[in-house]
Symmetry: C2
Subunit: 107 residues, 2 copies
DNA sequence: TAGTAATATTGCAATATTACAATAATATAT
DNA sequence: ATATATTATTGTAATATTGCAATATTACTA
């Protein structure tokens, strides 16, 4: 019982849900916005900017990264988080195809 | 402490996250697809189609409904669930504006 | 007004997510 | 190599989500 009975769903539905989950938390939305608005890639101050602790930010970054949305130098002192533009476009495509397929009206 | 520290985020980020949450579960994606693919609005067999119990489907429908994505006759025997096209388009607009704003590349 | 057929609500259990303190790991500079 | 500055990981607690059984509600019909 309980949560997560995902094995009964189609792969397509699972994929869409997984993409949506990345954006399903305000912190991750804010992180993505901040990164994209700072071309100098000084991303260490996400903690100050967003107001969550460093481990929490790191966790959210991991979620974003696992979804393939990050690019850059991930290690050391002068690291650099950037948006993976190609992947983001894929996400947009997935969403828009879902939207256009769903945009019927029967009543 | 623990979860939900949403008061620190911008309204915009919260809005996007809330929209995303609707699509962040395969069952809800499947429900939306099923409804949109059945113009006759015979939606009572969502339970059989998706493989979750009636209360669970009802809960997911409630989430979708609270987001404003449903239209139709919600009560009685011959009810009818339909997609609220206008609202869905709003969702699409919100997502696409987020995508286009975020689609930078600094590396 | 019962009876029927459908969805909604409630209560509860299991899992997932979120958040942070403490610690570990990594790369740079001295 | 050691110190420093940064991010990642681990452990733990709290909240949120998911799912179903049991029950309530709702509208239609005879």
């Amino acid at each position: 019982m309980g949560a997560s009975k995902i094995n009964i769903h189609s792969q397509k539905a699972i994929d869409i849900a997984q993409v949506a989950k990345v954006f399903a938390h305000p912190a991750r939305v804010a992180i993505l916005e901040y990164i994209s608005n700072h071309k100098d890639c000084i991303c260490g101050d996400l903690v100050d900017e967003i107001g969550l602790s460093q481990p929490t930010i790191s966790q959210h970054l991991q979620v974003i990264n696992k979804a393939g949305l990050l690019k850059g130098n991930f290690k050391g002192k002068s690291l650099c988080y950037c948006i993976n533009t190609k992947r983001l476009l894929q996400f947009q495509t997935i969403f828009n195809s879902f939207f256009s397929q769903t945009n019927n009206n029967c009543c």
